[in-house]
C-alpha cells in the first residue's frame, strides 16, 4: 500500500470525488484521516501499489492535488519522551499515555507534507523517511 495525500479546493470539496473514483476504478481506497470543511479538505488515503498510477491520475483529472508524503518515524532510542512535539501536531497524532511515554499514532500522521513536529524535537528523534515503494511512486506519480 502507498499513502497519498489528497487536497481538495473550495470549489470541488462538496463533490463526492473519492467515492466516484472507488466506484469507477473498483480500487479499494482506504481513508486514514480526513479534515474537511467548506473551505477545502485534506485527506490521507492508502491505495494498493499496483493501482497507484491510475488512482492518482483519476484524482488529478477531477482537480484534486495529489502528493506522496514521506512517512514520519520516531527513533525510540533517541526519544526521551519530553513531549515537546505534542502540541505542534495539527491532527493530534502525538499523545502522552499513562506512564508519561510519548506515543506517535502513525495512522493519523499526515507525513512529510506537515512535518510540524520535526524541528521541535530537541533530541532530533523525528525523521521523515521515504515510503518503501517510493521508487514506484517516483516513476508513476510525478
Amino acid at each position: 500500500m502507498v499513502r497519498i495525500l489528497l487536497r481538495f479546493s473550495e470549489d470541488i470539496v462538496e463533490q463526492p470525488i473519492t467515492s466516484q473514483i472507488i466506484l469507477e476504478l473498483k480500487v479499494p481506497i482506504n481513508i486514514i484521516t480526513a479534515h474537511v470543511n467548506s473551505k477545502g479538505g485534506e485527506v490521507l488515503a492508502e491505495v494498493p501499489d499496483e493501482s497507484l498510477d491510475k488512482v492518482v491520475k483519476a484524482f488529478r483529472k477531477r482537480g484534486a492535488k495529489v502528493s506522496i508524503p514521506k512517512l514520519i518515524e520516531v527513533d525510540a532510542e533517541k526519544c526521551v519522551s519530553c513531549g515537546a512535539c505534542v502540541t505542534l501536531c495539527p491532527v493530534e497524532a502525538i499523545t502522552i499515555d499513562e506512564d508519561a511515554s510519548v506515543v506517535f499514532n502513525k495512522e493519523k500522521c499526515i507525513g512529510s507534507t506537515c512535518s510540524a513536529c520535526v524541528d521541535a524535537c530537541p533530541s532530533r528523534a523525528i525523521k521523515s523517511v521515504k515510503q518503501n515503494n517510493s521508487e514506484l511512486v517516483a516513476n508513476n506519480a510525478h
Partner: protein, 471 residues
C-alpha cells in the same frame, strides 16, 4: 509520601517514611564538563580548542578545558554542540580534539590534533553552574509568526504553550526551605552519584526560583540521563537528569514533601515580547500543565512539556532502589543553601534603543481616497510609506511609493486595488534590533507601529533604524 499524608496524615507519614526521592530531567543550559587532557610531548599550553568542531574554553592552565553545553559546532551550528560532545564522551565514543597555542619556551608546541575517549582523560567532571530550577515559566507567543525559543517552538497567536519542570517531583520543591540540601549533599546526577556544591547562579529562593550548582564524575554517567539536545534556531543544550533524596527529619518535612502539582503555580509568559520583563498573561498550576491544556482568558491552549516526566519518575525510582540496596548513602549538608539571595538584572552603562526612540508620525490615508490624492501626499510630505487607517485610527493597510508609481503607470485609480492588507508591524517597546531584523526578513523598509488594539501610533523606517544602529 503524597498519598500517605493524604490518607493517614502527617504524623503517621513522618513515622513511616525515612526518605523521599525526587527527580527531574530537562534541558539545563548552564551545564558543562571540565576535562583534563594530560600533557602532550612536546607540551602545549592550549589557547584555543575544539572538540568535534565545537569551540571549547580553557578556563585554567595548559590542558584544562571546559566543554560548555551551549557552545555550537562551527560546521553544524544549531544542530551539534557541547551537549552532544559530552554525551558522545559519556557513551565511550572517540572525539576529535584540535587545539592551537602561541608557543612559549616551556610549552613550545603551537598546534595539536588527536582523538580521545573518556578513558584517555584524567578528569571528566560534569560541572553545572545552574541546574534544577524549582519551577519555570509556561511560554506562549502572541506574535503573528511562529517563534523558536529556548522554550521550544511557539506557534503564533497563543496556539500552543510549553512548560518545563517536574512539578511535585522537583527536588527543590520538596524541600523549599533547603533544610536538607546544601554544599555536600549527595545526589543522583546523570545516572551516577554527584554532589551539590552550592546554590546555583540566579538562585532566587524567595520567588520559589531556587537553583543548585552540581558536580559529578561524568566517566560513570549514563547517556539515558545525560543527552545532548537542540532547540531549533536557539542552539544546543544538555538534558540533565538529577534527583535528590530528602530525609524526613521532622514532621514539617513530611508535610512539605507531600506537595502536590495543584499547589505549585507558575506564570504564563508571552515570549513574543523580546524584553527582559515579558508580560505575564495568567497563572496556572502544574496540575493544569500536566493535563495537556491550560486556559488563558477564555482561550483553551494545548500545552507541551519540554522536560521528560517519564525520565524524572525513573530517576526518583532509581535513587530509591540505590538507597534500599545500600549503594547510596545520604549526606548532611556542610552548609545549607541560602534562602535570602536576590537575582538582580544587569547593570547597563550604555543606552539601548527601542522602536519608541526612532518612531515618527505616520502619514495616513483612508480607504476611500484616490491613488492621485495619495500620490500627491507622498510628494508633499516626502515619505515612502502611507499607512491606511479606518475611522478609529486602526491599521487597515499600507501603500508604498512603489505601489503608487506602478498604479499610475497601469492607470489604476482605486486605492483598494493596490493596498497591501497583510501588514508587518512593530510594537512601541520592542527593541530596535528585532524590528530591524523583521524588516530584513520580509525585505521591507518600514513598519507601522501599533498598539494592542491595532491603533496606529507611528511608523519606523529602515533608514532611521540604520542611522541609529549605525549600519
Amino acid at each position: 509520601m503524597k498519598r500517605l499524608v493524604e490518607s493517614s496524615g502527617v504524623e503517621v507519614a513522618f513515622r513511616e517514611v525515612d526518605v523521599v526521592t525526587t527527580g527531574t530531567f530537562g534541558a539545563m543550559c548552564s551545564s558543562g564538563a571540565i576535562i583534563n587532557l594530560g600533557h602532550a610531548d612536546p607540551p602545549i599550553k592550549i589557547d584555543k580548542a575544539w572538540i568535534n568542531d565545537v569551540p571549547i574554553c580553557h578556563p585554567g592552565a595548559a590542558v584544562d578545558l571546559y566543554i560548555g553545553a551551549t557552545a555550537m559546532s562551527e560546521r553544524q551550528p544549531f544542530e551539534y554542540g557541547g551537549g552532544h560532545v559530552i554525551e558522545a564522551l559519556v557513551c565511550g565514543k572517540e572525539v576529535e580534539l584540535r587545539a592551537t597555542a602561541y608557543g612559549t619556551d616551556c610549552y613550545p608546541r603551537t598546534q595539536i590534533k588527536t582523538n580521545l575517549t573518556k578513558d584517555d582523560l584524567n578528569q571528566f567532571y560534569l560541572l553545572n553552574f545552574r541546574n534544577c530550577y524549582q519551577r519555570y515559566n509556561c511560554a506562549v507567543n502572541s506574535r503573528d509568526e511562529t517563534i523558536y525559543t529556548y522554550m521550544g517552538k511557539l506557534l503564533p497567536r497563543l496556539k500552543n504553550a510549553t512548560y518545563s519542570g517536574a512539578g511535585e517531583l522537583n527536588p527543590l520543591m520538596n524541600d523549599p526551605d533547603y533544610e536538607t540540601i546544601g554544599i555536600g549533599t549527595r545526589i543522583f546526577l546523570g545516572g551516577a552519584q554527584g554532589y551539590v556544591i552550592g546554590e546555583g547562579t540566579q538562585h532566587e529562593p524567595q520567588n520559589l526560583n531556587g537553583t543548585i550548582m552540581v558536580r559529578g564524575d561524568a566517566k560513570k554517567m549514563n547517556p539515558e540521563f545525560l543527552r545532548g539536545a537542540t532547540f531549533t534556531r536557539y542552539g544546543t543544550t544538555l538534558y540533565v537528569g538529577l534527583g535528590i533524596p530528602i530525609p524526613i527529619l521532622n514532621e514539617g518535612l513530611a508535610k512539605k514533601t507531600a506537595i502536590r502539582d495543584e499547589e505549585i503555580f507558575t506564570n504564563v509568559v508571552d515570549y513574543g515580547v523580546p524584553r527582559r520583563n515579558r508580560p505575564k498573561l495568567a497563572k496556572v498550576s502544574y496540575k493544569e500543565l500536566k493535563s495537556g491544556a491550560i486556559t488563558v482568558g477564555d482561550k483553551r491552549i494545548r500545552v507541551s512539556s519540554l522536560s521528560s516526566l517519564k525520565t524524572a519518575r525513573k530517576i526518583a525510582a532509581t535513587l530509591k532502589a540505590w538507597i534500599e540496596q545500600g549503594e547510596f548513602f545520604l549526606t548532611a549538608p556542610v552548609e545549607r543553601l541560602p534562602v535570602d539571595t536576590v537575582f538582580k538584572p544587569m547593570r547597563q552603562t550604555e543606552e539601548v534603543s527601542f522602536v519608541s526612540n526612532v518612531m515618527q508620525k505616520a502619514v495616513t490615508c483612508s480607504e476611500t481616497e484616490s491613488v492621485q490624492a495619495v500620490a500627491e501626499r507622498i510628494v508633499t510630505r516626502s515619505v515612502n510609506h502611507i499607512v491606511m487607517v479606518d475611522d478609529s485610527g486602526k491599521l487597515t493597510g499600507i501603500v508604498t511609493s512603489w505601489d503608487i508609481t506602478r498604479a499610475l503607470a497601469q492607470g489604476k485609480t482605486a486605492l483598494a486595488d493596490i493596498v497591501t492588507r497583510r501588514v508587518i508591524t512593530a510594537k512601541l517597546d520592542e527593541p530596535l534590533e528585532t524590528a530591524s531584523k523583521r524588516m530584513a526578513q520580509h525585505k521591507i523598509s518600514a513598519l507601522p507601529v501599533i498598539d494592542n488594539e491595532k491603533k496606529v501610533l507611528g511608523i519606523v523606517t529602515a533608514e532611521d533604524v540604520s542611522k541609529l544602529l549605525g549600519r
